[in-house]
Every structure is written in structure tokens, then in C-alpha cells.
């Protein structure tokens, strides 16, 4: 693409602005977490790891981190089979009410999170499972399920149905066909979806706010509750944990399926 100078200039100035707004909070948080002062200021007082040491002593945050990890794991483990099968069903199989099913499966996106969160809080309260950790995982899986279905269905679209027919005519029974032909073919979609589900559950805030209490609070909610008071660098150190996890997720996504997967036309 050879760009005309004026076009290049306009494009780049807009993109640079976006890049700054996207990256500035991350950079500032990392910088702030290494300050040796008691408050966050610029220029910082000096370099130290004291806030990370303090973080290690804060059991609240450590526990919240472990709980968040657990919740995200539950969410991902549930989402993989449910989302994969749903994507196969919607793309592969001819069903009646196809249109209705699609609208129905998009409900987690069309219903505002604040409403979903409170609705599930009411429901979980009525059936007395509120206050446990696993329902939070299920709830987070539910609200992000369309992401999983999308990721898988985009690879199902690229899968040639003749491959399955070939397996059949070579004598492979249905289960073997599923595990030997269908599943490997949609694996990139499953990996992408599973990673998305995990990371989105890991930083989900609003629904967790309604479904957790002081004993089951997850990390994003814990951070939100601490933001209210004075801004101290220990919160920046906690946030760096999130930045590291996000970096790891981006790296994994790139290694396993390649980030370019999101650039494909649909």
C-alpha cells in the first residue's frame, strides 16, 4: 500500500491518538507500581519493589486472586463443550427455528450485564446457591457464551463437510469421525474461544459484583472496592498482575492460533 502523504498523515494521527489512549493506563500503572513513595506522583520518588512485597503480605488480594482463577477455570471448562457443540449445531445441522435459536443464543449479549447480574443474583438467591463460588463461574460462562460460539463457528464455516462424509464412507463410526475429523478441524476456534472465555472471566467485574460477597469476592471486585479510598501504589502492584496475565494471554493466543485469525473476513 503506497499511501498518499495527506492520507498517511490523517490515518497516522488518528491511530496514534488511539494507541496512546489504549496504552497509557497500562504504562502508568506499571510505572506507579515501582515507586518508593507512599503516594503516586510524577516524577516518582524513586524505584523500589516495596509495594510488591506488601502485596505478598495482603492475604485479601492473594485469596481473591486464587478465587478468580478458580472461577475462570470453571467458566472455561463449562464453555468449551457447551459452546463447541452449539456452534457445530448452528452451522452444521439443519434445524427448525434456526433464526429463533440464534436470537436466543445472543441473549447474554442483548441483555445488559447489570440486568443479567441482578437477575442471576435473584435466581441464585431463591435456589440458595448464592455465596458459593461455582455459580459465579457458571454465570460468567453464560454471559460470555456468544464469544465461544463465535470463535468456534468461524472455524466450522471453514471446515469442508465432505471431510466428514469421507470419514463416514471409509467406515468411521460417528464418534470416531467427531474426534478424528471434526474436532481437530475446529481446534483453532476452540483454543481462541477458551482463551477469550478465561481472560474475560478473569477480569469480569459487574456480574461478579452482584454474585459475590465478602467471603467469595473476586479480584476485579476487590480492586473496585479499594479504588474508592485513597489511591495508593499497592493497588497498582495488583493491577500489574492483570497486565502480566493479559500479556501471557496475548502471547498464548499468538503462539497457538496467531492473532491474525481476527483479521480474516467473515
Amino acid at each position: 500500500m503506497s499511501l498518499i502523504p495527506s492520507k498517511k498523515w490523517v490515518l497516522w494521527s488518528l491511530v496514534s491518538f488511539s494507541l496512546v489512549t489504549l496504552s497509557l493506563p497500562t504504562i502508568i500503572i506499571i510505572g506507579a507500581s515501582f515507586t518508593s513513595g507512599d503516594i503516586i506522583q510524577f516524577p516518582p520518588d524513586g524505584f523500589s519493589l516495596r509495594w510488591y512485597e506488601r502485596l505478598w503480605e495482603l492475604d485479601d488480594f492473594k485469596d481473591a486472586f486464587l478465587r478468580t482463577f478458580q472461577v475462570s477455570l470453571i467458566c472455561t471448562v463449562v464453555a468449551i463443550p457447551v459452546g463447541t457443540l452449539a456452534a457445530l449445531a448452528t452451522v452444521r445441522y439443519r434445524m427448525r427455528f434456526q433464526q429463533t435459536i440464534q436470537v436466543y443464543l445472543l441473549l447474554p449479549f442483548t441483555i445488559p450485564l447489570v440486568v443479567s447480574g441482578i437477575a442471576m443474583m435473584i435466581l441464585f438467591g431463591e435456589i440458595r446457591i448464592l455465596g458459593q463460588l461455582w455459580p459465579v463461574g457458571i454465570a460468567l460462562c453464560l454471559i460470555n457464551l456468544p464469544f465461544m460460539i463465535w470463535s468456534v463457528s468461524s472455524t466450522v464455516n471453514g471446515l469442508d463437510p465432505e471431510l466428514e462424509n469421507a470419514a463416514h464412507s471409509c467406515g468411521a463410526p460417528p464418534v470416531q469421525t467427531f474426534f478424528a475429523v471434526t474436532l481437530p478441524a475446529v481446534m483453532p476456534g476452540i483454543i481462541t474461544g477458551a482463551l477469550l472465555m478465561f481472560i474475560l472471566a478473569f477480569n469480569e467485574f459487574l456480574v461478579s459484583l452482584f454474585l459475590t460477597d465478602a467471603r467469595t469476592v473476586t479480584l476485579p471486585v476487590q480492586i473496585y472496592n479499594s479504588i474508592r479510598s485513597v489511591i495508593t501504589p499497592d493497588l497498582a502492584a495488583v493491577s500489574v498482575v492483570y497486565i502480566l496475565v493479559a500479556l501471557l494471554a496475548v502471547w498464548l493466543l499468538d503462539r497457538l492460533v496467531g492473532l491474525d485469525i481476527f483479521l480474516k473476513s467473515r
Partner: protein
Amino acid sequence: MPKRTLDRLPLRWTLLDKLEAIARFLWPARLRGATGWLFITPALLLVGVLLIGLGYMIEYSLHELDLSTYRLKDAYTLDNYVFLVEQPVYLRVLLRTLLAATLVTAMTLFLAFPYAYLMVRTPSSALRKFLLVSLFLPFFIGQVVRAYGWLIILGKEGIINTVLLKMGLPALDLIYNYGAVVFGLVQYMLPFAVLLIVPAITAIGEDIELAAESLGANWLRAFWHVVLPMARPGLVGAGVVVFTLSMTDFAMPEILGGGTTDFIASAIYDSFFQLSNSGLGAALSIVLVTLGSILVAIVFRLTGAGTLSIRQ
């Protein structure tokens, strides 16, 4: 002799045979035509949880709060909805939210389109990767942490203000106002918008653009008459997602608005947890769901589902 070969069969084969037998037993061939339904059922059940919750919500919204006991009365009534209509404060909150969502959508699309365009069109794969990573990283870091980052930068004793004070300039009110919330939402929505616009731009052949330019259109006109109309499915999809997500957001108005700029989500939260009036909160939730659905339905009716449809 045949026995020996059977012994040597790999474990996987035996297992798979068992699995096939179980599958045949549980799902005989005559049900084969309904396999689609078998596959979709778990998802239908999972989303069903949400529907049941919504059912409770509708039921709650039809009961008025008894102020002597702070529980909902048994009698059915539409009083909660009437109250919402009669109190001008709710209309004000609604209008404030809708205006913010409109501003956020316009600004986000304005920024997201060039980003997506450059990412798709650049010949440099290093630049493409850099743009992708810069997009995914904040997306994966989460809303609360990003809002916290902006708090450090824009806050009353934040970085910008300390620098201004050191230079002898007066401090600015950069936070706890409408503009901060809108800005926070724009940077939060940017990754969503770019990722939804990208497939639409990928679908436009670069030769079409070149053709327009070689026929004498300058790049702005080629953009306006060729690229933008062809990218419409992506723009519509992104616009709908950004609008509905920012219309219903809670964290940005709370953290960057600091309670000065209540959105509908804040009003719902307050009805439940400050006023302890779950009937009123439920009614407000139902109004929000209805309003959102109507808006999305209108846009889709006018323009089609764009890049949002599951089946491509």
C-alpha cells in the same frame, strides 16, 4: 491366532469401540436427524438460566414495596412503572445515558475505523502485530484496572495535576464529570469496535479502492463513496455493540464519574442496594431491556445484522 491380534489392539481402539457402543445405545441411529438438537441443548439450558432470572425480575417489578416492612407486597400492580414515568429524574438519567452512548458510539467509530483500516492494509507485518497487541492487551486487562489507570493520570492528585502544580499552573478538574465518563467509555470500547470493523475491511478488495483512485477520486472521496459504504456491515455491527454496551455500563460512570454522572445502570444499582426497593429496580431493568431490544431491532431491520450474525 485371531485372539492374539485382538490382544494387541491398541487401548485407544478398544476405548473408542466402547464409546461408539455407548453412543449407539444412548443415541440410536434413528435419532441421527435430531443430532443438532442434542448438540444445542446444553447451550439452550445454560441461557435458560438467564431467562428464569429475567422471569423473577418481571415478577418482582409487578410488586410495590411495603415501606413498613421493606418487603414487596403480595398484590400485583403496575405502580413501579407508573412511578418511573412520573419521576422526572429517571427521564433525565435516561436522556443523559442515551446522549453519552451516542457520543461514545460516534467517537469510537471515528477512531476505530482508521485503526482497523491501517491494521488490515499495512504491508508491514510487524506494524500489524504491534497494532494487534496494543489492541488486545487493554481488552484483556479489564475495565476496572484500566479505569484505575486513568484515575492515576487524571485524578485530583493525579499525574497531570501534579505536573501542572509544579509548573505553577492551577489544577484542572479532569475527572468526576461527564467528559471523563465519555472518554473512559471510548477507550474501553475501542478494541470491540476495531475487531468488529476489521472483517468488513478485509472483505473489501484493495483493487476496488485503487480503481476508484485511478479513476480520479482523491482518497477522501474514495473513502467516503467506496470504502465506508462497503464496510457498512462492520460499522453497523460495531455501532450497535458500542452503543448498547456503553448505554448499560456501570463501572465507568461509577469510577470516572464518581457518582456525579449516574447512568441507567447506576440507577438500577441504587434502587436495589441503596433504596432497597427491588420492585422499582426490577421495573427499571425491564424498561432498559425493552428499550435496548427495540433499538437493536430497529437498527437490524433497517440495515441487517452486519458482522454480528453467527451464521455467515
